[in-house]
């Protein structure tokens, strides 16, 4: 059989070190999700307290207690997600996963350790995150400390098949519609262009 066109580079990305954009977007999604959940939790708690006591409760962002609870919640959100499955909600969306530095599955304690040292990467204007850009294995400071790495875990070949299938379905109408199969030319590290 002959190929009509060369499959785009992301098809072969599964198992490779994840890059900065995927990881940043995943973190942004996680931050939004965890903050939304925390806010919802606070609102639910305020509603419950008000219902029981009859006194209105208001939370202040500058409240130290709230800040501490928020930090604990963040630690739980990321730590539990990494310990349980190696990925958070945002990482699942972007199809990336935390593994040990050698690529094997993450130990639960290492997931919590990663969450514990994660704030260190924010120090000095986020200098610890620079490793994702410049380090050869795209590992940030907290990755190096916890002995972890982040890889692409989504089944790109299945995605490619889904795209081709959809294309075959609409092929008769001649309307190209999917950006996934647009042949976004990307070369992976170590691959010939």
């Amino acid at each position: 059989m002959t190929a009509r066109s060369r499959p785009p580079g992301w098809v072969s990305a599964q198992g490779h070190y994840a890059g900065a954009v995927s990881r940043f977007v995943a973190y942004a999604l996680d931050l939004a999700a965890s903050t939304a959940l925390f806010t919802l939790g606070l609102a639910a708690t305020a509603f419950a307290v008000q219902t029981i006591t009859g006194h209105p409760v208001s939370w202040s962002k500058s409240d130290v207690v709230i800040a501490v609870i928020f930090a604990c919640w963040q630690f739980f959100y990321f730590g539990y997600s990494w310990a349980a499955s190696g990925k958070t909600f945002g990482m699942a969306i972007l199809g990336v996963r935390v593994v040990r530095a050698d690529g094997s599955d993450l130990d639960p304690w290492r997931g919590f350790l990663r969450a514990l040292v994660f704030p260190l990467s924010f120090l000095f204007f986020g200098l610890g995150f620079l490793g994702i850009l410049v380090q050869r294995e795209h590992r940030a400071l907290h990755d190096l400390i916890a002995g972890t790495a982040v890889i692409y875990a989504w089944d790109a070949r299945a995605a490619r098949l889904r795209f081709l299938a959809r294309e075959a379905e609409v092929g008769a109408s001649g309307v190209p519609q999917d950006p996934v199969g647009s042949g976004h030319a990307v070369e992976l590290p170590g691959q010939a262009p």
Partner: protein
């Protein structure tokens, strides 16, 4: 009862024969015999017609005989190529009962030796989906706006990752890129990265 004189004569005769045999130089006697002349008088074919070859062969332990044969030097002296040139493979195959051969083959053992992942990696999925009804089947079973959006977002993110990585590599003037995947995942990643035929 035997005659005593006859018995005595028998014993004397046996003794005389013993003495003659003892005194006789058999080697010298054999040396004086013209064996070729003697054999030329024998009709070997006539003898062979009287031999029951099947009975002789029945008495031969072929396995024991073969155990004593060193086949390797024998095979070393055989030039197989002219032998094979004389074989009409098509005729041979015409006579072979392939169904019977397959029935006797341990297909499971054969498949156990096949690297299915390698075979699968060599399949041109694009062409397969395009040229068969597989595409329609996949589209009906896995289609959906959510999966479509996820696929698009992920592929765009990977594309941007590579774009950023290329620029960082240029800025840092790296000649050799880092390992594409962790060591434990390298074989899988390499299999994924194999160009399709």
């Amino acid at each position: 009862m035997a005659d005593p004189v006859e018995v005595l004569a028998q014993q004397v005769a046996e003794r005389v024969v013993d003495l003659i045999v003892t005194a006789l130089d058999v080697n010298a006697l054999v040396a004086r015999i013209d064996l070729n002349a003697a054999l030329s008088n024998i009709d070997v074919n006539e003898i062979l017609t009287k031999v029951d070859v099947n009975a002789v062969l029945d008495r031969v332990d072929v396995n024991s005989l073969l155990d004593r044969v060193d086949v390797n030097p024998l095979l070393d002296r055989v030039d197989v190529n002219p032998l094979l040139d004389r074989v009409d493979v098509n005729r041979l195959l015409d006579r072979a009962d392939v169904d019977e051969v397959l029935r006797r083959a341990d297909v499971a053992a054969v498949l156990a030796r096949v690297d299915v992942n390698n075979v699968a990696a060599r399949i041109n999925m694009d062409a397969l989906v395009e040229q068969t009804d597989l595409g329609a089947i996949i589209a009906r079973s896995s289609g959906g706006a959510a999966s479509e959006a996820l696929d698009a977002a992920r592929s765009q993110a990977v594309g941007l990752d590579e774009f950023v990585d290329r620029w960082v590599t240029r800025l840092l003037r790296r000649r050799h890129p880092g390992p594409p995947a962790p060591s434990a995942l390298a074989p899988t990643a390499l299999a994924n990265a194999q160009p399709e035929p």
